[in-house]
Every structure is written in C-alpha cells, then in structure tokens.
C-alpha cells in the first residue's frame, strides 16, 4: 500500500470519499511526525498500482496532498 500525505482530517475524509466513488479502497492513517515538516498530519493509504489514478482524482477534487510514501514510510515522488 502507498500513502498520500494530507494535512488535515477533513481533507483526508474528502479524499477517501472521492476515491471510494471510483472504486478505490483507501483508509485514513496518521503519518509519523518524523516524516512531516509541520507536525501532525494524516494520509490515505491505497494500492500502489492505482497511484497515477489517485493523484489525478485528488488534483481534480482540489484536495491538497503532499508526498506519496510507501507503506513503510519511505518517501516517493509526488
């Protein structure tokens, strides 16, 4: 699973709803504060193979997201 960092819970909820509407299962997770510059943040985990689609949907819905990480917390390109 991959994780898209989203700065607040409302954004994470909105992202989860948007992905669910196109059949992408995602879950809200907390992101380790050592991985964020600003402190507490949330993310949504989703199957890595849907990454391109997920990025497209989040952008289309104006959901501000940060880094895409691997499930182990390793950073990936946005």
């Amino acid at each position: 699973m991959c994780i898209a960092a989203i700065r607040n819970m409302t954004g994470a909820m909105k992202a989860r709803d948007a992905l669910s509407r196109v059949g992408i299962f995602s879950q809200i997770v907390s992101i380790d504060t050592s991985l964020t510059k600003r402190g507490c943040a949330y993310g949504i985990s989703f199957p890595c193979e849907r990454e391109v689609e997920v990025k497209r949907i989040l952008k289309a819905k104006n959901i501000d997201f940060g880094e895409i990480m691997g499930s182990s917390g390793t950073r990936r390109d946005r």
């Binding site: 700065r7 607040n8 819970m9 997770v29 907390s30 504060t33 600003r38 402190g39």
Partner: protein
Amino acid sequence: MIYLDNAATTYKKPPNVTEALIKWAQCGNPGRGSHSASIAASELIYKAREEIASLFGAEAENVIFTAGATSSLNTAINGIIQGKRFITTDFEHNSVRRPVLALCRDRGCTRDILPSWDTKNMPRLLSRMICKDTSAVICIHKSNITGRTMPIRDLGKICRDRGIPFIVDASQSAGSVNIDIKRDNIDILCAAGHKGLLGIQGTGIMVFRDHMNISPLLHGGSGSDSRDENMPLHFPDRLEAGTPATPAIASLYEGVRFVRSHGEEYIGRKQRKLWYRCYDNLSSIRGIKIYDSHAPGANFLFNIHGISHTDIARELDKRGICVRSGLHCAPDAHDSLNSEGAVRASFSYFTTTAEVDEFIRQVKEIAKENI
C-alpha cells in the same frame, strides 16, 4: 405549554436530534488520531460538514463549526484583516452591533448604517455608501424581531463587484429560506445551529464561499500542522481551535437532515401561514399595534395599547404561552420601528395552528381586559 419563542431557540426538536446527542455523548476526539474512536467521530463531523455544505451550496471544508452565531459573527468581524470601516444595517442583532462597536471603540473603526425601512431601496443606498475604506458589509438576512427580509442577493452582488467581503447573519433564515452562498453572493454566512437548523444550543456555523485570509479569534490545537506556531492556513482547521462539540454537532447534523428532507421553503411557508393567521385575527382589534405588518415571517411583533410589553408577556406566561418581550437584543431595530420594546411571538416548523389560535384568543382577552 405553548412555546412561541422559537426565534431565541427552537424548543421542539426532531427525535433524531436528541437521539444523536445521547448516542454521541461518549465518543472519540475527531481529527485527533487515527484510532477507530477518533475516526468514527471524524466521520460524523465530516458528514455534518457535507450536509451543511449541501444546504448552502458550499464545499465541506468551508464549513466551520462554532459555539453559536455570536461566536461565528465575532470570528468573521474580528477576522477581517485590516478592518477599518464596516457597513451594517439598522436591523442588526447585538451579535453584530456589539463586536463592530467594540472595533470602533478599540481600533478606531467606523460603522456606517444602512437603513432598511425600504428594503427595495437598500442596494441603491449601499452602492452610494461603499467607499474606498469599506472593509466589509455585514447584513442580517431575516430580522430576529419581525419578518423583514433583506435583499441579500442584490446587496451581495454590489459587494462582489466592489471586492468587499459580504457577511450575512442567517440566524433567523437558515432552515426556512433557501440560501445558496454562490447564487446569493455571500462570502461568509454565519448562523446559529439551535434555531431553524434544529440542533441543540451550543452550535453555530460559518460557511465560506471560498478560502479567505481571515485571522482566527481562537488559537490552539487543531490536530494538524502541530509544529507550526500559528494556526494552519487551511480550512476548517484554521478557525476550529480545540475539541469540537461532537455530540452537539451530531444533533445539528440530524437537524439539518430534517430541514433538507422537508425543504426550507416549505418550512418558511408554514411559518408565514401562522403569521398571517395572527395578522388576520389581531390586526383589526382596537389597541393592538403590529410592527412591520407588510413583512410576514416567523416573527410576529406587537404591542397592546395601555399595557407594557413586559406585562403582556408575563400575562401570556401565566396562561401557559411563552413569548419574548423587550428589545430582543436588537435595540437599533426597535429604534427604527419607533418601538421602546414589544412582544414577539415566533414560530417554528413544529408550531401548530391550534397553538397559534390559543395565542390569538389569549391576546384578544388581554387586550379586552386592558382597553
């Protein structure tokens, strides 16, 4: 008891409202973790945001939960960056009048008053009043003492054309008038959650058309950007410091669902019918003065010659009818109506014709006894 003080707070609530309150009395803290209890509460809060956003044609993240309309209006008025000069109507509640006057006193701001006795003329007057220093226009939508309704769409259009934030106090209209924040040219809508939206007391909302650069009134935990010394820039977190009132928001969610399922227009019509019933039965009674008699709505404001408004309300209370007398926290509005206080009977979705008939009967009797 016949409760006719719904402009202060609606007394009867849909069953789901009180059930939700009990159901969510024990819950996790929303937006403060990713454990199941916090996520469950977050989901509820998000659903409530979405429901309210749908009611007003807004985006969920632009719905802010507050402790009430006063809290919402104080946040909006004080949060306008570099506020200098404010335009308000002569019908504002103290939740607008006092924070604006406090800014005039403490920060040297100016308040210009837009008269509302001729609502059709208000847009023209507003156009003339706006000047280069005008920071915001703040306007009550429906009066809290009579049925007077301000032409917010036209006023908002003028503000939008001139690039001035338009703040609307929809405390009396939310839930009984269809409002679309984009169509009606509103930048910030403020409302109570415990009146026409049928939530419990302790709830209020701000609904933004778009993200705005607004300074928060409260600073504290937001569950996001914790290392930052300042409140986050993003909504809703920027204006929601501290733990939200989750059980109260759960009640508001159910209240708004009820309103949406019945339709605001239907609810508004129901209230106006009751107003007309009062008007038709009382306007011809000698000694009874009805204020704003051309403006039907949820509030019926009157006096009886020869008896003080306080005594009328006291007498009605003795007869099992709750109404509110005095200035209703809107002294400027009473001044505009040449009233030194009056009696307000206000209706909700749940007010019945039989209740209003009993109110009419008792008012007639009091008038007869005193004239």
